[in-house]
C-alpha cells in the first residue's frame, strides 16, 4: 500500500469508529445532551477533555511554532497547561457542585440577573465561533494535503461527521467520541516522536532525548542547536527574544483564558461528583502533558534535522521530502545569490536568507524527514483530523446549549417541555455546524488575528466573574456586570486597535508599556477584578438566597441537586 492508500484506510476506519460510537451513545434527555447524564468516569472525562482542548493548532502547528520561537515558545507550553491548575483548584469542583448545564447558567444565577446571563451568552457564543472556524479550516487543510481533495470538500466531509455525532448524541456522543479521538491523536503524535528521538539521540523517550547527546556530533543536542543558531544568525534557541514582562503577561493571559473557556469548563459538569471533578482535571492534564512535553522535544529534533539537512546543501542534492513539500508551497526556496546552495540564515541578515519554512511542516513532514514507514504518515493525517473534529464538536455544543438552554429555556420561554428543549438543542447544534462550516469555507480575514482574542476575552470576562462569585460572597450583580463589560471592552479595544485598525503600528515600540496584544488580556482581567471588587463594596449586598447558594457551592456534600433561582 502506498501513502495515499494508508491515509485513506486509516482516516476511513477512524471515521467509522466515531459514527459507531455516536449510534451507541445517543442522547435521550436534555441532561444527556448537555452534560452526558453527569455519569462520565473521571479518567474518561480527562481523556475527552484532552481531545476537546487539543485542537488542530496544538497537533499540527504548535511544535513548529516552538521550533521557530525557541525559548519564547514556552508561553504556549506553560499557558496552555498551567490553566488546568487554576481550573482544578478554583473552578471545576465548585461549578460541578452547583450542578448547572452551562457557564451562563452559573453566571446568571449567581448574579441574580438576566443581563449578566445575556452578557455571558454573548461571550460564550463569540469565543466559540472564533475558535470553531479555525478547526473546520484545519479539517479541510488536512484532507487537501493528504488525500488531495479540494479544501472545501474536506470541510463538507468534516461537517457531515460532526453533524452526525453532535446532533444525535449531544454531550454524551461527543464525550465518548472524544475518548476515541484522544487515543488516535496521541498515538499518531507519539509514534513519530519516539522514532525521531531514537534516531537522533538513541533515547526512546523524547522528553529525555532532547536533553541528551546528539549521536551525529557527540555534543549535547541543545548546545549544538544553540551553536548552529549563532552561526546562522538566529537568537540562541534556549534564550528568548521577547521581553520578560511580555512573556509573563502572555503566559498569564493564556493560562487564565484556558481556565475561562466555556467548552473546557463544561466538561467538568459531566462527572458524577465534586471529588471526581477535582481528580478529573488532574487526568485531563496528564493526557495533555503527554503531548505538551513531547512537542518541545519534537521542535528541537525538527529544527536540528532541518538545519542539518538543508543548510549550505546543494539544491540539486536535497532529499525527496524537500521537493515534495516544496510542491505544496509550505517550503519555499529562492536561490538569490545563484550559487546552487541553500542559505538558511537568521533575521540579522534577511536579505541573504533563501529558505522560507511554514511552521506546520514540522509535524506533518516529520515522518518523511525521518524516513518512517508509509502507515505512519497516514496515522498523522488521522490524528490531525481527530484533533480538529474533537475540538469543533465541543465548541459547537457550547453554542447549541447557549441558544437552547440559556436563551430559550432560562430567559425567553421557561415553560418549554423537556422534549421541546431537546429538539431545539438538536436544531441549534445542526445550525451551528452549518455556520461553522460556512466560516471554514469562507474564513473571515481576521480569524488568524483573533485567536488571541478568544483567550483575552475569556480571561478578562468569565474568569473574574466566576472566581469572585465563588470566593467572595459580597460580590454583587452590579459589580460583576460592570467588571465583565470593562474587562472585555478594554481588552477588545486594545486588540482591535493593533490587530485590525493599525497593524503597521503593532510593534513593541508602540505598545503600551511594551505589552503585546496577546498579553493584554491579563491587564483586562486585573481591571475586571478591580472594578468588580470596588463596585461590589458600594452597591447593596446580594440577596440572602444568593449568599446561601455561595455557601452551598463551597461544600461538596449534596452535589447533583439543582439550585435554580428565578429572577
Amino acid at each position: 500500500m502506498n501513502v495515499q492508500a494508508w491515509t485513506f484506510t486509516l482516516v476511513a476506519a477512524s471515521f467509522a469508529l466515531y459514527i459507531g460510537i455516536a449510534i451507541w451513545s445517543r442522547a435521550t434527555s436534555t441532561k444527556d445532551f448537555y452534560v452526558a447524564g453527569a455519569g462520565v468516569s473521571p479518567v474518561a472525562n480527562g481523556m475527552a477533555t484532552a481531545a476537546d482542548w487539543m485542537s488542530a493548532a496544538s497537533f499540527i502547528s504548535m511544535a513548529g511554532l516552538i521550533s521557530f520561537m525557541g525559548y519564547d515558545g514556552s508561553v504556549y507550553l506553560l499557558g496552555w497547561t498551567g490553566g488546568y491548575v487554576l481550573l482544578a483548584l478554583l473552578l471545576a469542583p465548585y461549578l460541578r457542585k452547583y450542578g448547572a448545564f452551562t457557564v451562563p447558567d452559573f453566571v446568571g444565577d449567581r448574579y441574580y440577573s438576566q443581563t449578566a446571563r445575556i452578557v455571558a451568552v454573548v461571550c460564550a457564543i463569540f469565543v466559540s465561533f472564533t475558535y470553531v472556524a479555525g478547526q473546520m479550516r484545519g479539517v479541510g487543510i488536512v484532507f487537501s494535503r493528504f488525500l488531495e481533495v479540494d479544501v472545501n470538500v474536506g470541510v463538507y466531509i468534516g461537517m457531515g461527521i460532526v453533524f452526525f455525532y453532535a446532533v444525535l448524541g449531544g454531550m454524551k456522543g461527543i464525550t465518548y467520541t472524544q475518548v476515541a479521538q484522544y487515543c488516535v491523536l496521541i498515538f499518531a503524535y507519539m509514534v513519530p516522536a519516539i522514532f525521531l528521538s531514537l534516531l537522533i539521540t538513541g533515547n526512546p523517550i523524547p522528553q529525555l532525548g532532547f536533553g541528551g547527546i546528539d549521536q551525529a556530533s557527540g555534543l549535547s543536542l541543545l548546545e549544538r542547536l544553540n551553536g548552529l543558531h549563532q552561526e546562522l544568525g538566529f537568537a540562541a534557541y534556549t534564550d528568548g527574544t521577547k521581553s520578560t514582562l511580555d512573556v509573563f503577561l502572555i503566559t498569564a493571559a493564556l493560562m487564565v483564558g484556558t481556565a475561562g473557556l466555556p467548552h473546557v469548563i463544561i466538561r467538568f459538569y459531566t462527572v458524577p461528583r465534586v471529588r471526581d471533578a477535582r481528580i478529573s482535571v488532574g487526568w485531563a492534564l496528564v493526557f495533555i502533558a503527554l503531548l505538551y512535553t513531547t512537542a518541545p522535544a519534537v521542535a528541537v529534533f525538527a529544527r536540528s534535522n532541518l538545519i542539518a539537512s538543508v543548510s549550505e546543501t546543494a539544491y540539486a542534492d536535497v532529499p525527496p521530502w524537500f521537493t515534495n513539500w516544496e510542491a505544496t508551497g509550505l517550503l519555499q526556496f529562492e536561490d538569490y545569490n545563484r550559487d546552487g546552495l541553500i542559505q538558511f540564515v537568521g533575521p540579522s541578515s534577511p536579505e541573504t536568507n533563501e529558505l522560507t519554512v511554514d511552521n506546520d511542516i514540522m509535524v506533518l513532514a516529520n515522518p518523511e524527514i525521518a524516513g518512517l514507514p508509509d502507515w505512519i504518515v497516514g496515522l498523522v493525517a488521522a490524528g490531525g483530523l481527530a484533533a480538529a473534529l474533537s475540538t469543533a464538536a465541543g465548541l459547537l455544543l457550547v453554542v447549541s446549549s447557549a441558544v437552547s438552554h440559556d436563551l430559550l429555556k432560562r430567559a425567553l420561554k421557561p415553560d418549554i417541555t423537556e422534549r421541546g428543549e431537546l429538539i431545539v438543542a438538536r436544531v441549534a447544534a445542526g445550525a451551528a455546524v452549518v455556520v461553522a462550516g460556512y466560516l471554514g469555507i469562507h474564513p473571515p480575514g481576521f480569524v488568524a488575528q483573533v485567536v488571541a482574542f478568544a483567550f483575552g476575552l475569556a480571561a478578562s470576562s468569565f474568569f473574574p466573574a466566576i472566581i469572585l462569585g465563588i470566593f467572595s460572597r459580597r460580590t454583587t450583580r452590579e459589580g460583576a456586570i460592570l467588571g465583565m463589560v470593562t474587562g472585555i471592552t478594554f481588552t477588545a479595544a486594545y486588540i482591535v486597535w493593533f490587530k485590525l485598525m493599525h497593524p503597521d503600528l503593532n510593534t513593541a515600540d508602540h505598545w503600551w508599556l511594551g505589552i503585546s496584544p496577546e498579553g493584554i488580556g491579563t491587564v483586562g482581567m486585573l481591571l475586571n477584578f478591580a472594578v468588580t471588587i470596588v463596585v461590589s463594596r458600594i452597591t447593596p449586598e446580594p440577596p440572602e438566597v444568593v449568599q446561601i447558594l455561595v455557601d452551598k457551592v463551597r461544600i461538596p456534600r449534596g452535589a447533583g441537586v439543582a439550585h435554580e433561582i428565578n429572577v
Binding site: 497547561t81 482544578a88 488532574g282 456534600r557
Partner: protein, 103 residues
C-alpha cells in the same frame, strides 16, 4: 425560644462553624499550592530564567530555566492537582462534608 429551638440553633451554629473551618483550611491549601504553581512557572521558568540558564541540569544538556519553562513546570502542575485532590478528599471526610460513595 423553646428548648427544641435552642437545640436546633446550637446544631445550626455548630454546622456553620464547621463549614467555616473547612473553608479556611481549603483556602490555606490553595494559598500554598498556588504559590508553588507560581514559583515553578513564572518564577523559575520566566522571571529567573535568564540567570538559571547559565546552569545545566546535571547529566543532561538542559539549561535550568529553559527546562522549567518547557518541561519541569508542566510536571509540577500535574502533581499539584493530584495533591490537591488527595488533600481535599481527606478534608471533606474529616469535616463530614464528603459525598459518600453513592452519589
Amino acid at each position: 425560644m423553646t428548648d427544641a429551638e435552642a437545640v436546633d440553633q446550637e446544631a445550626d451554629d455548630e454546622i456553620r462553624a464547621r463549614h467555616a473551618a473547612y473553608w479556611r483550611r481549603n483556602l490555606r491549601y490553595l494559598g500554598i499550592l498556588l504559590t508553588i504553581w507560581f514559583v515553578v512557572s513564572y518564577g523559575l521558568g520566566i522571571l529567573l530564567a535568564e540567570p538559571l540558564n547559565d546552569l545545566r541540569i546535571p547529566g543532561t544538556g538542559f539549561p535550568v530555566g529553559f527546562w522549567f519553562a518547557q518541561q519541569g513546570a508542566i510536571y509540577v502542575f500535574v502533581v499539584l492537582i493530584f495533591v490537591y485532590a488527595g488533600l481535599m478528599n481527606r478534608l471533606d471526610h474529616r469535616f463530614g462534608v464528603d459525598e459518600g460513595d453513592d452519589a
